[in-house]
């Protein structure tokens, strides 16, 4: 699980069928002090995380496939929770 902040979103009309209808958010991973670290990534969001909210991003493919209910989905990053 990666501690990250939502920094934007991506719109795609042509994507893998398992991603149809999923919100894709740009997430910037954060280091221990809360500063940005590394390049932003795209994560699937089913919880409705807002702009600049702190989130946990999972990078587990098996969990992600269960998350989108498609055993043949290539999805890997998904938002697991929004941090209060």
């Amino acid at each position: 699980m990666i501690h990250a902040i939502v920094v934007g979103h991506a719109v795609s009309s042509h994507c893998h069928p398992s991603l149809k209808g999923c919100k894709m958010l740009l997430c910037q991973s954060l280091d221990a002090s809360g500063k940005p670290a590394g390049a932003p990534m795209v994560a699937i969001d089913l919880f409705g995380a807002g702009m600049h909210s702190k989130v946990f991003v999972s990078t587990d493919g098996v969990a992600a496939r269960g998350f989108v209910h498609d055993e043949k989905s290539p999805v890997r990053n998904f938002i697991q929770g929004v941090i209060d």
Partner: protein, 100 residues
């Protein structure tokens, strides 16, 4: 998923039999500062190394694509296939606004 700019195609002559019919794209990761304009004007080449990704979507040169790397890249296939990166989305627009 990483965001990358398609900068070319790769054509194979001798290849693993499981690659038959596959399309391969040369992709260069897009720097975060060019996310907002990437879908409108071609972003400059980033310092990150480019990668070759399997393409099932029909992305072409100049498109901004989402690439999944790692074991998950093989998930959509019925057969075993030795690939490490696959395009999963062609982006129409990107909105990037880092916190001030």
């Amino acid at each position: 998923m990483r965001i990358a700019h398609v900068i070319g195609r790769v054509t194979l002559n001798v290849q693993d039999p499981s690659f038959k019919g596959g399309r391969w794209l040369m992709c260069n990761p897009v720097d975060a500062e060019h996310f907002n304009t990437a879908c409108l004007t071609a972003p400059p080449l980033s310092k990150d190394f480019s990668l070759v990704a399997y393409d099932n979507l029909g992305a072409g040169e100049g498109d901004i694509v989402g690439i999944v790397e790692g074991a998950e890249a093989t998930a959509p296939f019925d057969h075993d296939i030795p690939i490490d990166a696959i395009t999963v989305a062609i982006f129409d627009s990107l909105h990037y606004q880092p916190p001030a």
